[in-house]
Structure formats: C-alpha cells, structure tokens
C-alpha cells in the first residue's frame, strides 16, 4: 500500500526531480518484491511517456526522450549527486564490472556456452545499459554464426524493437554492421547529432559512441549527465573510461572529474589486467593483417573497459578523430607520431612499394600495423603540410594501396598542397583527380576525374578500359576494386571519347564484369555479368530488329517484277534505250495517257508501276509492313504505355488534395492519346481517297520524287545499255523504289517531329500550380520527364522509318520470342507474363525467314497481350523434325485466359478469326492478329499449319516454320 501511494505521487508529478533522488532509494524503502514491482511499473510508465524518470538499472530500455536529464544542473552539483548515486549502487556496479570482465575472458577463449550464460546473467541482473548493448551488438557482428549467442543477444535487444527504435540504438547497430561503410555511418550520425535533431541524451550518447575524444570540458559534463540519466551503470562506466579534458587557464573552473567521485571498490574492480587474446578474438574473422587494426578500431567503442583496446582507440581518436568526423577546421592534437618520424622518413614510409612496420612505432603508438597505421602516417603528413613533389603515379598508387579513405580524411585544400599538378604523369593525375573528387564531390571534380580517366585509357591502353583496370587491380587490389566499382553504366556512358554508341558502352561493362567475376571467382558478379550479357544480346537483337522494322519482301516483289515487267523491259532493251527519257514535269510523270502516247517515257512509267506495287501490295509491300509492325499497336503502345502509367501514378497520389492539377494531366492525357491514335490512323497510311492524309504516296507526287525518278531512269538505261541482263535491271528498279520511298519516309520523320513539337510538348508554365512547393516541383519534374520521354521515343520511332539495314539479321526462335515479348511489355499496359520456354531449338533463323518468323510470333504474342491474362503464364513450346530436304519447327504458344473470360465465347471468337476472309488483314488494325498470321501462312511457304484451340484455362495458337535444309 505504501509503495502504491508513493508511485501515485510520482506519476502525479510526472516524475519531476526523479534523477538521482527518490527512485534510487526504492530498494531502501520497500521490500524486494515491492521494489521490483515498482521499478517495473516506473519503467513501463517511462517508456509510455507518462513519466520523466531515470532508473539506476532499468528493467526495460528507457525511452531516451523521457529520461531525467539534469541539463541545467551545475557540474559540481551533478558530481555530488553522481557520487551519492554510484555510492548507493556500488555493489551492483562492482558486480557488473566483474561479470563483463568474465564475458571478455570467455569471448577471448571462444567459450560460447559461457558467453551465452553471462549474457543472460547480465541482462537479468543489471537491466539495460548502453555499455552492455554496445558490447552485445558488437558480439553478434563478430560471431554471426554462433546461433545460441545470436539468439541470446536478440532476446536482450528485442525490447528495443517493440516500438520505434531509439536513434542511438540504430547508430550503435549500424556502426558494427560490416555491410555498412563505417566512415559514412559515423559521419552521418555525428552530423545529425550535432545538428540538434535529437534530444540531448541521444545526441551525447551517439557522439560519444563514435567520437569519444574530448577537448572541451563542457561536453565532458554533458555526456556524463546523458550516460548517468540512462543508467547508473553507464554513468559509472563513463566516469571510469573517459577523462575530463585538461583545464586550461581560459576555461571556466570545473570540478574534478567523475572518476575521483567513484568509490574505491569500483576503482579497484576496474583495474584489472588487459584480457589476453581479446584483440585477436575481435579480429579473428579478418583475413589480412592489413585490415586487422582497422577492424579492431571499428569495434573498439564496445570494448573500452579493456585497457589495451581503450588505449588503442584513444591513440587513434586523439590523432584523427576529428577527421573521421569530417571536421577539418581544427588541427589534430599532435600525437607520438610528431616526435617519432622526420618529414623525409614520413615521405618514404608512405610511398615505398610495401610497408614494413617499424616495431618502435607499433609499440609507441599502440595502434597495430597495416592500413590504419599508414593512414595515420598520411594524416600526419597532411597536418605537417608536407608536399609530395617527388612522388610519381606509381608512388601515389603505393600510398593509396596501403592506406584507407584518405580522400575522405583530407580536405580539398590540403590536397592542393600535398599533391601538386603533374600533367606529364597520367597515372598520378588520375589518382590525384580521383582523390580530389572523393574529397569534394561536385560536377567539376567529377568531370575532371572522368576526363583524366579517358585520357589515360586512350593514351596508354589503346582505348581499352580493361587494360587500365587490370593494371590497377594487379598493382593494388584495393585501388583496382575502387575503379571497377566506379565503372557503372552512367560513368561509362560519359566516356564520350572512348565509346561512340550506347552499344559499345554496354559491351565494355559486360567485359569488365566478366573479367572481374572470373578473376575473383565471385559467383554474384559472374551472375550479374551473365545477366548483362543476356540483356545486351536481347538489346542487340532488338536493335537489329529496329533497323529492319520496315521491310518489303524482296523475293515476292521480285516475282512480281519478273511476272509483270520483265517482258516489257526486255522489249525496251531490244528496241534500244537511246530515246528514253525521264518525265520533265509532274503531269508528264503521272498522266497515264501521256505515258501511253510518248514511247520515250515508257521506262519511267514502268518504274512508276514497280513503285506502286512496292508501296501498296497488301501482303508484302511497304504499307503492309508499316501496318503489321508499326500501326498494329506498336506505335500507339510505344508512345502511350509509359506515359499513361506515370501520369496515372501521379494522379493517384495527388487526386484527393490537388484535383485541379490532376485534372490538367488527365485532360492532357486524353488529348494526347487521341492525337497519337489519329496520327496512326490518318497519317501512317498509304495515301488513298479513304486516307487522304496518308504520308506514303505510291506515285511521283513532288519535285524530289521527280528527280529521283529521273535518276532511276538513267540508272536502268545504263544498266540495259551495258548489256546486263533484265534481272539485273529489275534489281536496279527495286533499289530505286527504296530511294523513291525514302522521300516519303523522310516526310514521315518530319511529321513525327512536328507531332512532338506541336502536339506533345507540354509547356510547364501552363501548370495550374498549387502553392505547395513540394507538389509543384513534382509536377514540374513530371512535365520535364514527359518532354524528355517524347524526344527519346520520337527519335526511336523516327529511326524505324528508313530503309532496312544491309546486314542480314539472324536469331534463334527463342531469342526472337524474347524480343517480341519485351516489345509487347513496353507497348501493352500491364503485360508482364511469366515466361516458360521449352528446350531451345538452337536453329538460327536468317534473312527473309527471320522477318516471317518475327511477324508470326509478334501476331501471336500481341494477341495474348491484348486478350489474355496479362500477368499470367505465357509459354513457348517447340519441337523440331527433319526430312531429307526440310527442317520443320512446330511452334505453340500458350497464354492464360483472363479470369473473367468465358472459354466458350473465346473459342467461338477464335473460330471466327480462323475462318474470316483474309483480304486487307495486314493493313487493318484491331482484333486482326490471327488473320494476319493466317495471311502470312497463306502467302509464305516458310510458315504454315496455323492452328488455335481453347481449353478451360488456356488459349493455344500454333504454326509451323518450314526451313529448307542446306
């Protein structure tokens, strides 16, 4: 009853004045059961924010913001309270020191079961302290595979995870995490702590964890208050292992440090010998001696009760702590290094090929060997403002290979003193530019580094980037790894002098990954390399296909030319070509009567007919390929799919709060989609009375074409004159058809640019701004993205409208299937199937067969994308059989039916398409995929046996590829 009344009083006062006062005396006032229950109650209330209180050994991790932090208490008063408090808890503190020492010994001996036992005891008997939390978090990162240990630590730390984690806990955990960069973690937390973002106790605890070296006695007292507020254990540990900075005549009077306020039992308990083998146990998992000291340093905050490790950490912090924090403004305190090494020795030690540690230095500095010591020597050189005028590229490489993070530990100004320009030494300049960049990242330093990188690869490695990387890696794996990781896609893309195309960039990246993965045997890297190689291959196939998107079936056209023009051409050749001439005017070129009357225009008329067939044949002409490969969803999908997804995602997020802004984008999208659809329907067409705006015009309709026709007439005349055969002349006519078509294709390119400029471009100034800076910036960024996206897409589409490349494309059936699916993913909203491919056929499909098979797959896959389940399974099954003369590939593509589709209706509809008339299938859009496939099979001997079936869950569409065996 008495305890309850007392607690009521405490809660009523919100715990005010509880620090070091009433709460500490619970054990004196009440029996053990009441005292424990009261502590648990206070701890819970404190965590819930009902109380501002500090318990001596909190049974739960306290909420740091609700600690009794005696901010304004004078140092002398605090010292008295502290003394009284630690005196009162002396037995507990002494016991804690003994048990943690036992833990150190058990860890040094590798006695896992004893470690687990001690962890449980510490948690049970002493509650939560920063000191123990540091030690346990370090332990789990040092022994991640010791399951029982990890579990027992987790039992202790899980209480931190119940609500939002304390920021100091996150800082502690991240600092020991090997996957994180220690320096970056330290700088981030120290910067945030000093920025005033955290409450006072958190700020001081975090700062002390990373940066324990103090030069200012005010900070000493602030930190002491923070640790003492957390627990009496932490207050005592701080007092034992942190010295108050020397008081100078300029600093206000301060009381003696807290260590002297501790009882003699605590002092003597803490004065045990260093634990033998502790440092080795901490660095056990580090393979190279080079890295051991650095590793030990990163964990040292958790092991400061050990005198050796404390001295080790203090020596480093004193020498370089400020630089590790990213603070270059105040000179370092001169360490033993200042006295031990001359300037010349320092230069030599830093630049010799391999560093031989001097025993006297090791002993004197107590900072071990390896990269850490070299780094400290380097920092000493920076402090002395030494220059390295004599150092060359190789010397600098030696220095970098034996140090760590020097770029981050040196200011740009110091670099300009340490490493002056040496334009005659490209390796030196590369390393120097890299250091300057890392010391102060900005657009200029980034450019300089890249420029020098490019120069050295061009001048000394014959443009082979791998040559430089291999050299660097061979000389110093440490430095080599840095540059390998620098060579990202973005970095390589900007090596404009080395790589003239994006394809060359991706090929270089692939080579680097393969080499590095193979060299290191790193499976993850190799897997990335393999996946990049596949992507590149797919991308090359797509590029090949883009270069051949427009096509006219040469075999079928030549048949037509032979059947319809050869005889007449033979007759012209027989009669002599001297009198033949090109039409002088457009009227002459297009007037049928004039052409019939004037025999000298016969050849021009014949070329006109060929050109008309070339453009307009519904099965193999230019318009049919524009229809099947561009108009058939591709044009609209390429221009709208990403745009719609991005705009809808913006609208979804902002609709509720900013409807006017969303309406702007919505209306714009509706208009945009209509414009794109209209352009395809009206202009990407063969001009006819039905399509008067069509941009493909199958006759001579302008001065440019008249000129092209005249050139064609001249060429064919001279071919016939040179007694070449009629088939050769027909081939010349075929080539001239492309030249004539080129004029229309150029006009399509021009109209596409006009479409972008006049209909697609969004003027950011028209945005109905909201007044919310963040949202308005997002809207502006969206507009920029859209405008840049349009430039990119229109440039891509523009390239489709040109004569196919001379290079014969080739791919396996499976590769082509992948290309087609990738395209469909980009063109059909939400189409993201799970692919299943049967065994590869390994048969390469080349030339005109490539075109047919691509078209066949394209029809089927687009059909599945448009009408099937978009995130369902899409499988390709193939089987190969051979006769003496032919190879047959059976192709079947299975797609899932949408969940709401009726198999009966789908079957009926599919049957309809299988029986529908084929006329015009290639030049019409919308539900025409199956008809297009059938027409393809009807007109090409390489494709046949089109079939389709519907089960309860799937649609299958199949065909057969027939290849003549060589």
């Amino acid at each position: 009853m008495a305890a309850r009344n007392w607690l009521r009083g405490l809660v009523a006062q919100k715990g005010e004045g509880s620090f070091g006062g009433r709460i500490d005396r619970i054990g004196d006032r009440y029996n053990r059961a009441d005292a424990l229950a009261s502590e648990t109650f206070i701890s819970e209330m404190q965590r819930q924010g009902e109380l501002t209180a500090s318990l001596p050994t909190p049974p739960q991790p306290p909420a740091v913001n609700n600690l009794s932090y005696p901010d304004s208490m004078k140092a002398a008063t605090f010292r008295e309270v502290f003394s009284e408090r630690t005196h009162h808890n002396e037995a507990r503190i002494v016991d804690f020191i003994g048990t943690t020492h036992d833990l150190d010994v058990a860890f040094a001996r590798g006695d896992a079961s004893l470690i687990v036992h001690l962890i449980k005891k510490l948690g049970r008997d002493f509650g939560y302290s920063i000191h123990l939390t540091q030690r346990l978090l370090s332990l789990t990162h040092l022994m991640p595979t010791a399951t029982d240990l990890v579990v027992s630590v987790r039992d202790y730390t899980s209480a931190f995870e119940i609500t939002k984690r304390s920021i100091f806990y996150v800082a502690l955990e991240d600092s020991f995490d090997r996957t994180r960069d220690y320096l970056e973690t330290r700088r981030t937390f120290v910067r945030l702590a000093r920025s005033g973002r955290f409450s006072n106790p958190s700020r001081h605890i975090i700062e002390h964890h990373f940066s324990p070296y103090l030069t200012d006695s005010d900070r000493y007292w602030s930190r002491a208050k923070a640790f003492s507020a957390y627990s009496v254990i932490d207050g005592a540990m701080f007092a034992l292992f942190t010295s108050q900075p020397e008081i100078t005549p300029n600093t206000p009077q301060k009381p003696k440090d807290l260590r002297s306020a501790l009882g003699s039992r605590i002092i003597s308990a803490s004065q045990y010998s260093p634990t033998e083998g502790l440092a080795d146990a901490i660095t056990f998992s580090v393979n190279t001696e080079d890295e051991q000291s650095g590793f030990l340093y990163k964990h040292s905050a958790a092991w400061r009760s050990d005198p050796t490790i404390r001295a080790f950490q203090d020596a480093i912090e004193q020498t370089a702590g400020r630089r590790f924090d990213g603070d270059f403004s105040i000179p370092m305190v001169r360490s033993a290094l200042s006295k031990s090494i001359s300037d010349d020795d320092l230069r030599e030690l830093l630049t010799q090929p391999s560093f031989v540690p001097r025993n006297d230095l090791r002993e004197e500095l107590q900072i071990g060997t390896g990269r850490l010591l070299q780094t400290l020597l380097y920092l000493e050189a920076a402090e002395r403002e030494l220059d390295f005028k004599e150092i060359d590229g190789d010397g600098l490489l030696n220095l970098l290979s034996q140090t760590e993070d020097v770029a981050l530990l040196t200011s740009p100004l110091e670099f300009s003193l340490l490493l002056p320009n040496r334009e005659d030494d490209k390796l030196y300049e590369l390393l120097r530019a890299t250091l300057v960049y890392d010391a102060g990242e900005n657009i200029s330093t980034e450019y300089d580094r890249r420029a020098v990188f490019e120069e050295i690869v061009s001048a000394e490695y014959d443009g082979d980037i791998l040559g430089l990387l291999q050299y660097l890696y061979h000389r110093s794996p440490h430095v080599g790894r840095y540059y390998i990781s620098t060579c990202s896609d973005h970095f390589l893309t900007q090596l404009y002098q080395l790589y003239q195309s994006v394809e060359a960039v991706t090929a270089a990246r692939e080579r680097i990954l393969f080499w590095y993965g193979t060299h290191t045997g790193d499976e993850v890297l190799l897997e990335r390399a393999r996946s990049l190689a596949l992507e590149n291959k797919l991308s090359r196939l797509r590029n090949d296909h883009d270069a051949n998107r427009l096509y006219v079936d040469a075999i079928r056209l030549n048949h037509w030319l032979q059947e319809n023009l050869a005889a007449e051409l033979r007759e012209i050749a027989y009669q002599g070509v001297d009198e033949l001439r090109a039409a002088a005017t457009l009227e002459e070129a297009t007037d049928e009567v004039a052409l019939m009357r004037d025999p000298s225009l016969r050849l021009g008329g014949l070329i006109n007919r060929a050109f008309f067939e070339f453009c307009s044949n519904k099965s193999y002409g230019l318009d049919s390929y524009v229809g099947r490969r561009i108009r058939h969803g591709t044009f609209y999908g390429t221009l709208t799919s990403d745009v719609r997804t991005t705009i809808n995602s913006f609208i979804q997020k902002q609709q509720l709060l900013y409807p006017e802004l969303c309406l702007f984008f919505k209306s714009w999208l509706v208009q945009y989609e209509a414009d794109i659809r209209r352009f395809a329907i009206e202009q990407l067409q063969l001009r006819s009375p039905e399509k008067p705006k069509g941009l493909i015009i199958a006759n001579v309709n302008n001065a440019e074409k008249l000129l092209a026709l005249a050139m064609a007439v001249d060429d064919v005349k001279s071919t016939l004159q040179s007694a070449a055969s009629v088939p050769v002349a027909l081939d010349v006519i075929h080539q001239h058809c492309w030249r004539l078509a080129d004029i229309d294709l150029l006009s399509i390119q021009f109209e596409l640019e006009r479409l972008r400029s006049e209909r697609m471009f969004i003027d950011g100034r028209r945005l109905p701004l909201t007044g919310n800076t963040f949202i308005d910036d997002e809207a502006r960024s969206l507009v920029r993205w859209l405008n840049e996206h349009f430039i990119e897409k229109i440039s891509q589409i523009t390239m489709w409208f040109s004569k196919p490349s001379e290079v014969t494309p080739s791919a396996t059936l499976e590769e082509l299937f992948n290309v087609v699916v990738t395209e469909a993913r980009e063109q059909v909203d939400g189409f993201d199937p799970q692919l299943r491919l049967s065994e590869t056929t390994h048969i390469r499909i080349i030339g005109h067969r490539y075109q047919y098979v691509y078209d066949a797959l394209n029809f089927v896959v687009h059909n599945a994308a448009s009408h099937g389940k978009r995130d369902g399974e899409l499988s390709l099954q193939t089987s190969v059989s051979k006769s003496d003369t032919h190879t047959f590939i059976e192709v079947e593509i299975f797609s899932e039916l949408p969940t709401d589709a009726s198999p009966e209706e789908t079957r009926e509809s599919l049957l309809g398409f299988m029986e529908a008339p084929l006329t015009d299938a290639m030049v019409t859009e919308g539900k025409s995929g199956i008809r297009k496939l059938r027409l393809l099979a009807a007109s090409k001997q390489e494709i046949d046996s089109v079939r389709a079936s519907v089960s309860d869950t799937h649609v299958m569409v199949g065909f057969r590829v027939v290849l003549v065996s060589m």
Binding site: N442, I443, Y447, Y496, V502, S539, R754, D763, G764, R780
Partner: protein
Amino acid sequence: METFDALIVEDDPFKEAALREVLEQLDSRFRFETSVSVQTALLSIRAKKFDLVLLDMALPSHDRSRGKGSPTSMPSGGLEILLTLNRLKRLDPIIVVTQYPEVDINGSLIPILAVKSAILGIVRVNLLDVIHYDQTEDAWRDALIDTVKRHHDKCSNS
C-alpha cells in the same frame, strides 16, 4: 568574305531549324555545323574553335544510329560541353537556348534567370546569355538577335 563558324548543339530539328533561320537572317556569313548529342558535340568542339555555339542543355548521350541502341537521356548534357571548353581553356562564345523554364544543374532545377550565374559558378567559359525558347512567342528571337549583335559589336570595338 569573312565567315563565322557556328555550332548548333540541338536534338530537336524544329528548334534547330528555327535557330539557324534567325542567325542566317541576321548575318549571311554564318556557316553552320549541327550536333544532336553530347558525344558528337564534343567531337566538333575538339575539332575546331567556333565563333558562336548555340547550346541546348538536355541532350541525348549519343547520336541515335540504327542498330546501335537507344542513347541515354542526359538532362544536363550541355554542361559536359561547357566543362570541356573550360578544361580546354577555350573562350568560344556560347548562348544556351533551352525550352525549359528551369535547367537541371547538378541534380537541382535552377530557374532560367539564375542559370547563367550558376554555370559561371562552376566553369570559366564565355557564356553570353541563357535564353528561354518558346516557339509560340517571339521573345526568344529578339533575345537571340540582341545577344549576337551585342557580341559582334563588342568584338568589332575591341
């Protein structure tokens, strides 16, 4: 006859044609080269000095060439040209002409009025002006003509 070599770095053919037309009308002595990507602009810049460079800021990394992959969009691609001129210590006169009311510099969108000083804070180049190109208005034409004239006058007087 004295000629002036002008380089237009612009991937939008309409805008490029419009810029060229203004300069041709202003002075028939202009001879033009055009680059449509950062990569080819750098080739031109390294090949010779220019009497005037009209520079767009958002550019593709490389020329789009068939069968060679899509270039990467570089929102601050124009800066690469300026950084290269700076490295080469070249003072070719430059006018930035952009369609956007802000320019992406170092990942931040800088309002057009502040772009000139932002650029000159990074590189030492002969940047005459930064002009906002709006095809629906004539202000950009007047600004371009005015800037080129002033530059010519300054050259004649010196």
